[in-house]
Amino acid sequence: MKRLVVGAHYGLMDWLAQRITGIVMAAYTLLMFAAMLGGAAASRQAWHDFMANGFIRFVSFLFILSLCYHAWVGVRDIWMDYVQPAAIRVTLHVLTLLALTGYAGWAVQILWRL
C-alpha cells in the first residue's frame, strides 16, 4: 500500500504548546539573569539556598517540562522533514520521547534533592 496519506488532524495543540513553552522558558531565563545580577550565584551556598527555595523549585520544574515539550515538538519536526520511511521515523520518535522523559526525571531528581 503506497498511497500517500495526509490528514492526521493534529498539530494545532503542539504548535500552540511550543509557543507557550517558549514564553515560559524565556520568562525563566530572565528570572535567572535577574537573580544572578542580584547575587544569587555569589557563592555556592547562596546558589544552593536560592535553588532550594520553594518557588524556584516550582518554576524550575515548569521550565524543565517546557524545555522537554518544546524539544519534543521541534525534534519531531526534524524527523518528519528529513526521515521518510515510517518505520525508522516512528523508532526515532519513540527514542526521542524516551530520552526526553528520562532527562526530565533526571533533572527533577537533581533539582529537588537540594
Binding site: L4, V6, A8, H9, G11, L12, W15, M80, D81, Y82
Partner: protein
C-alpha cells in the same frame, strides 16, 4: 543615454533531457538597447539570438505569473525585474524555480504546485440558493480579502520555501495556504469549519515554521506568512 547599446552577460541553466546527460550553466552575452528595461526584454533578445533557450512567458506585465524563475539566487518574475536593478558588470544568473522537476531549461513541471492549490478547494462553497443578483458583502468584510485575492500563482513563494522542498506532496505551501485563507476569510463561504479541519494537520499547515522566504520573494508584495498566522489564530479561537 538614448538608445545606447550595451552588452549584458548571462549565466543560464540549460538542460534538455533529450540531449543532455546533466544540466550545465551556459555563458552568453546579449546586446541590449536602453529601451530593454526589464529582464524579460533581455531574455526575448537572448531567445532571438539562441532559439534553443526555453522559458515560459505570456503577459509581460506581472499578471499571468508564467515567467517566474530564480534570478541571481532569488525567485521573481522576469517581466517585473528591472535591468538596472542588477549590479553592473556581473553576469545575471538565471535558474529554474528550485524544488520542482525541470522540463527543459527554465521551464519547470508545476503539477505538484497546482495539486496542492487544488487540494484547498479554491472556490466559494455556499449551499444556499443563489440570490437574484449577487452575494453581497459589507465593505469591511470585503476589505479582509485584500492582499489575498491578488495572488497570480507564479509559485515564486512555494518554491522558495524549504518546507515545500522537503514535503511538496504533503505541505500545502505558502501559495496554497494564502488561497486557503482567502476562502476562510470570505464571509460568503460556508465551509469554514471543513476548511480548518482539512488544514489542521502536522503536514498540510504546520510544516510552516514562519521563516518568511515567501514574503521576501512575492512579486506581488503579498504576505502568505500573515495569512498562515491568521489561519492558526482562527484554529486557536475555535479550539479554546
Amino acid at each position: 543615454m538614448p538608445n545606447a547599446t550595451h552588452t549584458v552577460r548571462f549565466k543560464i541553466y540549460r538542460y534538455d533531457p533529450d540531449q543532455d546527460a546533466k544540466p550545465y550553466m551556459q555563458d552568453i552575452s546579449v546586446e541590449l538597447d536602453s529601451t530593454d528595461r526589464k529582464l524579460l526584454d533581455a531574455m526575448v533578445k537572448l531567445k532571438a539570438q539562441d532559439d534553443s533557450i526555453s522559458f515560459r512567458r505570456s503577459c509581460r506585465e506581472g499578471v499571468c505569473g508564467s515567467d517566474a524563475m530564480n534570478i541571481n539566487g532569488k525567485n521573481g518574475l522576469a517581466c517585473l525585474t528591472a535591468m538596472d536593478s542588477f549590479p553592473p558588470g556581473k553576469p545575471i544568473v538565471l535558474r529554474p524555480l528550485p524544488g520542482l522537476p525541470v522540463i527543459r531549461d527554465l521551464i519547470v513541471d508545476m503539477t505538484q504546485f497546482f495539486k496542492q492549490y487544488n487540494s484547498i478547494k479554491p472556490y466559494l462553497i455556499n449551499n444556499d440558493p443563489p440570490p437574484e443578483r449577487e452575494r453581497l458583502q459589507s465593505p469591511e468584510d470585503r476589505e479582509e480579502l485584500n492582499g489575498l485575492y491578488e495572488c497570480i500563482l507564479c509559485a515564486c513563494c512555494s518554491t522558495a520555501c524549504p518546507s515545500f522542498w522537503w514535503n511538496p506532496d504533503k505541505f500545502v505551501g505558502p501559495a496554497g495556504l494564502l488561497a486557503a485563507y482567502r476562502f476562510i476569510a470570505d464571509t460568503r463561504d460556508q465551509a469554514t469549519g471543513e476548511r480548518l479541519d482539512d488544514l489542521d494537520d502536522p503536514y498540510r499547515l504546520f510544516r510552516c515554521h514562519t521563516i518568511m522566504n515567501c514574503v521576501d520573494v512575492c512579486p506581488k508584495g503579498l504576505n502568505p506568512t500573515k495569512a498562515i498566522g491568521k489561519i492558526k489564530e482562527m484554529m486557536v479561537r475555535r479550539a479554546v
